[in-house]
Symmetry: C2
Subunit: 644 residues, 2 copies
C-alpha cells in the first residue's frame, strides 16, 4: 500500500520533518495546515521540495467548521475554501480533509450539511480536486463514521468521499464492523492512530496521547481489516498528535512510524491468510473476501518471527578495573569463572543456566559503551531455534544489523541493534554448548560455590520518556513480545511508570521503567546514558529457594538493600503469612507479594550502575511492583545515611 | 488555626520531608502510611524526631477498605486495625483516617457500615484513639460527605467523626453548603486541596493533579467557610497528590504550602469581616455567625495588598560588553539614554512611560545574575501608592525581603525576591520622578528619535514546569494578580503552556510560559537559568500606532522575526480584513488577532537571551496566543537558515 504520514506527527520545522519522513521511505505526506502557515517558503517551493524527496502531498488538512452552517457563514466558508483550493493547486495536493463541524453555530441538519458539502465538492471538481469528510469524535452533531457516511451518500457527488480515522471511531467505542459495507472507492483516505486506554476527555486524549499502531491498546488490526474488506485501496496514513513525539528526534519517530505500518500490514495479512486457508470444501464468503483482498492489495510480508526460548547470555561492557570489581561481585553471587574468550579480553561466568560475559576488550563496541556510559549491559543474547530468521525478520522490520569483529573459529551470531544501542544477539537453542567454541576454560580457577541461581528471570530497563513507545513497538514487532500491565510506582523523588513485556511462555521478560520526574534514581541513571536514552537498570536472577540462596549470598558478603522493619509489620497486618515466615523474610531483606494465582519473593543486591535482584517466582506473573516504593525509599535512605 | 500537611505532599525521604515541613513552621503532619512503611527507623524514633522538630502527628492515614464488608473480611480488618493502633500509640498519633471502601466486596448497606465503624471506634476508644471517616470521590458505595455523615451519625460513637476533604467534594461538583449544618465537633479533621479543572477520570485527577489552595480552580474559600460556620476548630491540613510536587525541592513545596494556607485563611477572614460589617440595624443570622466565627477562630490577618498601578521599571543585569550591545539595541528601539546612576555603573533609558535600567555594576546582585545566567532581567519595579504596605504584605505571605546596597541620597525602595530570584521593587506611584534622585543626566547624549512606545504591555516569563504552581500562588497571594486563560501552543519541538496573570485594571500583566518538552526554545532558555528555574523571556512594549512604530524601528535597523507569507494568505482566508491591510501587516511582519471585543497587533524583535515584542492592544484581553506557533516556527527556521 501507499504509506503516508501527517506532518503534525513529527517534531521540527517542516523542512526537517520532510527530510526525516523521506529517509524512512514514506511515499507521501498529509500536510497539516499549520505547518504550511508557519513555513518560510511558498507553496511551489514546498512542492518542489517534496518532489525532490520523492514524497507526494496526498492530503491537505484540516478544513474546519464548514458543513451544517447558516447560509451567511456557509458563503464565507466557500470563499475561504477557494483560497485553500488555490493553495492545493500550487502544492499539487489533490484531496482536502473536511472534519465534522465543532462550531456552536453548526445546525443538526444532515440535509443542509449534505447540500453544503455537495456545493463544496462541485467547486473542488472544477479544479479536479476532491473533498474527504471525516467524523471528529468531538464534532458538534457528527461524531461517528456512520453519520458522516450517510451525509456523504446523501450529498452524492463523485468528488466527495469519506475519510476514516481509527482514533475517532475507537475512542468512542464505536463498532468498525459497518465499514466493510461501504464501497471502497467512496473511502478517500485512511488515517490510523493507536492510543493507550485513558479515562479522559476525548479531545484532550486525541490531542496529546495518540501513538503509532502497536504502541497503544486499540484493536487496529480489526479496524484496518474492515477498511480493506470494503475494498479500499488508497494510502495507509498516520496522523498522530502526541506530546512526546513533538520532542522526540524526528528520524526515530519516522522509523517508528514506518515500523508500525509494516507490523500492522503484516498482522492483517496473516489474519487474511488464515481466513483464506479455511476449509475449501465449505462455501465461505469471508474466505472468498480474504482471498480477493490478498490478491488485490499489496501488504507487507516479513519473515515470521520464531519463538524465543529465553535469555542465552548477557554481556557487560567494562574496563579492566571494573572487570575485576564486577568479577568479584559475580563470584560472591555464586558465579563460576567459566573461561576466557579465544581472542578478546572477555571473561565468561556461569551459574545454573545463566551465562554472563564481562567484556573489557579495548577498542570494542563494549568498551565504547563503557566509555560513554560507565559499566553497563552492552549486549543481550536471546535463544531461538532459528537465529537467522529472527535477525531477518528484525531487519525487515527496520532494525539495524550489528556486525562484530570476529576471530577464527569464533561463533557468528546474527545480531541487531535495539533502541538506544544495546546489541541483541540471536543464539541457537543449544547456545550454551555452542558458545563454548568461543571460550577456553581458565585453568586453575576454582569454581565458587553455587548459590542456587538457575536462570535470568527478567531484565529491567530504565528509559527516557521518549524511548518508551519506541521500545514497546520494538519489543512487539521485532521480538514478538506482548505487553502486560502498566503501573506507577512512587520513588521518593517522583513517579516511575513500569510496564512488563514478555513472550507467551514467559521465558523472556523485560520490564520497561520510565521516570516521570527528572530527579529519581531511574532518571539519574537514564540521564547518565546520554543520547542512548537508557539501558539495563537491573538484572533479576531466579532461584528455586530464595531463603537458601540469600543465606549463601549473605555468607559470601553480598550487600542487599536493607528493608525497613515497618514493611514487615505491615506485611503481617495485611496478609495471614504467620509471624515466623515474615520474620524470616525480614532477617534476609526479602520482599513479598501475592497474586490470586501465586507468590513472588525478591531481594535487591547493591551494585555499581545497575543492580541485581534475586527472585523466586511461584505461579506469579508480575514483578512485585507493590514493593517498589519500599525498595526505592530504602535505596535513597541508604545513600542518605552513607553520606552522613 | 493549627496548620498541618500530609507527608505525601512532599518529595524526598521521610526525614527530608519532616525537616522541610518544620522549616516552613507547620504545627503538625498527617503521616501517610507508605512513608512510614518505607522509613528506616522505628515508630518511637519517628515520634522523637517529630517532637524534636516541633511537629505533631495529628493523623495516621489512610486505612482502606474497611466498612460495609462481609463478616469474615470485617473480622480480619479489625485485626489489621489493632496492629495499626499499636503503631499509632507508639507514634503518638491520636486519629486514624478511614476512607470509604473501594473494594468490589463492599456492600451497599449503610447500617452494616455504621455498625462496623462503631465496632472500630469502640476498639479505638479503649486506647483513647479516634477514627475519622472520609468519603472518597471514587468510593464504591460512599462518595459524598453527606453519605459519610449519615453513616457517622448512625454509628453514633464519640470516638468516630467525619473527615472532610475539599477535593473529594468539589471534584464531584457536590455542594458544600450542607457542611455548615454539621456540628463542628463531629468533624475530626479537614483536608484542603485545590486542582485545575480537568476533564478526566476522578481517580487519575486526584492522584496526579491536586495542588495547593490558590493554585487550582476550585472555590476553596466557600468550602472552608462552610466548615468554619459548622464550628470546626481542628487543624487545617493539606493533602496533595501531585506529580510535580513529587520532584520539586521540598523546601519550596513546604513554603508554597504554608503560603497557600495563609492566603486561604486571610481570604475567608476578609469574607467573614465583610459579613460581620453588614447593616447592624437588621437582624442577620449570617452576620451573627460571621462575628461568632471571627471571635472563636484565629485566622491569618496579613496587611491588605495595595493596588498595583503598572510597571515602573525593568532592570537588566549585564557586563560591560553586553551593556553596550543592549544600549545599542535600546537606542534602535527608540529609547533615550536618560542618565547614569549616582554611584553605580547603571544606565537609565526612557521612552514614553517606559524606564529601563542597564546594570553593569561589578559585584552587584545584577552582575551575579548575569554571571549565572547571561544577560537577563534581574529586577522589576511595580508602581503602587503604598510601597511599604505592599512589601509588608509580601513578607507576611513569606516572601524574602531584598536589601540592596545603597549610596547616599539614593532612593530606598522596598523590595522582595520573587520565585527564581528576580527582585521585585515596590515603587511609589510618582516613581518616575522619584527615580530621578538616583540618576544624573548624561550630558552630551542626544536623545534618539522616539518610536512611539508608550508603556510596558506585559512581561513573559519562561518557567521550569515545577515553578508554575509556585508562580501562580506568588502572583495571586503576594502581587494580588488574577489568573486568566491557560493555552497550549505548538513550538516545533514541543508544547508550551501559557497562562496570563494580571491585576483588575490590567496595568500589570505577566505571562507564565512553561515548556512541556525539554527541547523547545523556551526549555533551552529556562535550562540556561539553572537552579533559578526560569526568568523573563520577553518584554512586550505597547504603542498606539504599531505601523508607525514598526516603520520607525525598521528604519533604525531593528531586526524582527520574519513571518511567513503563508500566514498572511491564511489571515486573508480566515478574516475579512481586506487585502491592503493584510499586505501592510505582511510588509512589517506584524501578527494579528481578533477577539469578540477587540484587536491585537504585534511583532517580535530579535535580541540575545530575551526578546522584545511590540504590541498594539485595542480592547483585547489576551496575548495573541493563536499566532505563537507561526512566530516560534519562524524563530526556528531563522536559526536553521542562519546555520547554513
Amino acid at each position: 500500500m501507499r504509506r503516508s504520514i501527517a506532518t503534525v506527527s513529527m517534531s521540527g520545522t517542516l523542512r526537517q520533518k520532510l527530510e526525516a519522513i523521506a529517509v524512512a521511505r514514506f511515499d507521501a505526506i498529509e500536510l497539516f495546515e499549520n505547518d504550511f502557515i508557519a513555513f518560510n517558503g511558498s507553496a511551489s517551493e514546498l512542492r518542489a521540495m517534496t518532489e525532490d524527496l520523492g514524497l507526494g502531498i496526498d492530503l491537505f488538512q484540516p478544513f474546519r467548521d464548514f458543513e451544517g452552517m447558516p447560509d451567511d457563514a456557509f458563503q464565507k466558508s466557500l470563499d475561504r475554501a477557494e483560497r485553500k483550493f488555490d493553495l492545493m493547486e500550487a502544492l499539487g495536493a489533490p484531496l482536502m480533509l473536511v472534519c465534522s463541524n465543532t462550531s456552536p453555530l453548526a445546525l443538526d441538519d444532515a440535509a443542509r450539511s449534505a447540500a453544503q458539502l455537495h456545493a463544496l465538492a462541485e467547486r473542488a471538481a472544477r479544479r479536479n480536486l476532491r473533498i474527504g469528510y471525516e467524523a471528529l469524535a468531538w464534532g458538534r452533531c457528527v461524531r461517528l463514521y456512520g453519520q458522516a457516511w450517510k451525509i456523504v451518500e446523501q450529498a452524492d457527488h463523485p468528488h466527495l468521499g469519506l475519510i476514516l480515522d481509527s482514533f475517532h471511531t475507537l475512542s468512542l467505542r464505536d463498532n468498525p464492523a459497518g465499514i466493510a459495507a461501504i464501497r471502497g472507492e467512496r473511502i478517500f483516505f485512511l488515517q490510523m492512530a493507536d492510543a493507550p486506554l485513558l479515562a479522559m476527555d476525548v479531545l484532550q486524549w486525541a490531542r496529546h496521547h495518540r501513538n503509532f499502531p502497536g504502541q497503544g491498546q486499540f484493536d487496529l488490526e480489526n479496524f484496518f481489516l474492515q477498511v480493506l474488506l470494503a475494498g479500499y485501496a488508497g494510502p495507509l496514513s498516520l496522523e498522530i498528535f502526541n506530546d512526546q513525539f513533538r520532542e522526540t528526534p524526528n528520524r526515530r519517530t519516522a522509523l517508528d512510524a514506518m515500523r508500525s505500518l509494516l507490523l500492522l500490514e503484516s498482522q492483517v495479512r496473516a489474519r487474511l491468510e488464515r481466513e483464506r486457508e479455511r476449509d475449501t470444501a465449505v462455501a465461505s464468503p469471508s474466505r472468498d473476501a480474504a482471498a480477493h483482498t490478498l490478491q488485490r492489495i499489496e501488504l507487507f510480508d516479513p519473515p515470521r518471527g520464531p519463538a524465543l526460548e529465553g535469555f542465552s547470555f548477557l554481556e557487560f561492557g567494562v574496563d579492566d578495573d571494573n572487570a575485576e570489581a564486577l568479577g568479584t561481585l559475580l563470584g560472591q553471587l555464586g558465579f563460576a569463572r567459566a573461561g576466557r574468550h579465544r581472542t578478546k579480553t572477555v571473561t565468561r561466568y556461569r551459574q545454573g543456566d545463566i551465562q554472563l560475559a564481562v567484556n573489557a576488550e579495548p577498542a570494542s563496541p563494549a568498551r565504547a559503551r563503557f566509555d560513554a556510559q560507565g559499566p553497563s549491559v552492552c549486549a543481550i543474547g536471546l535463544a531461538t531455534a532459528e537465529p537467522l530468521q529472527a535477525a531477518s525478520r528484525a531487519a525487515a522490520l527496520l532494525s539495524a544489523r550489528h556486525e562484530s569483529p570476529r576471530g577464527a573459529h569464533e561463533l557468528q551470531l546474527p545480531a541487531i541493534v535495539a533502541p538506544g544501542g544495546t546489541i541483541v544477539h540471536f543464539v541457537p537453542s543449544a547456545g550454551g554448548a555452542m558458545l563454548d567454541a568461543d571460550f577456553v576454560a581458565t585453568p586453575g580457577s576454582t569454581p565458587a560455590p553455587d548459590a542456587g541461581l538457575v536462570g535470568i528471570d527478567h531484565i529491567a530497563l530504565g528509559l527516557a520518556q521518549d524511548q518508551f513507545d519506541t521500545w514497546i513497538l520494538f519489543a512487539k514487532a521485532v521480538l514478538g513480545l506482548q505487553r502486560g500491565e502498566s503501573l506507577e510506582l512512587a520513588d521518593p523523588f517522583g513517579l516511575i511508570r513500569s510496564s512488563g513485556v514478555a513472550n507467551a511462555t514467559r521465558s523472556v521478560r523485560l520490564v520497561l521503567n520510565v521516570s516521570l520526574s527528572q530527579r529519581t534514581r531511574t532518571a539519574r541513571q537514564v540521564s547518565a546514558t546520554g543520547r542512548a536514552g537508557g539501558g539495563v537498570q537491573h538484572i533479576a536472577l531466579g532461584t528455586r529457594d530464595i531463603f537458601a540462596t540469600m543465606e549463601r549470598l549473605r555468607g559470601n558478603g553480598v550487600r542487599f538493600v536493607p528493608i525497613s522493619a515497618n514493611y514487615y509489620d505491615d506485611l503481617l497486618a495485611r496478609l495471614d503469612l504467620g509471624e515466623a515466615a515474615v520474620r524470616r523474610m525480614q532477617s534476609l531483606d526479602i520482599l513479598y507479594d501475592r497474586s490470586p494465582t501465586g507468590e513472588f519473593l525478591h531481594a535487591y543486591a547493591f551494585a555499581d550502575r545497575f543492580f541485581f535482584e534475586v527472585v523466586q517466582r511461584k505461579a506469579y506473573d508480575g514483578y512485585g511492583a507493590v514493593n517498589a516504593p519500599a525498595r526505592m525509599a530504602a535505596q535513597e535512605q541508604n545513600a542518605e545515611s552513607t553520606k552522613k
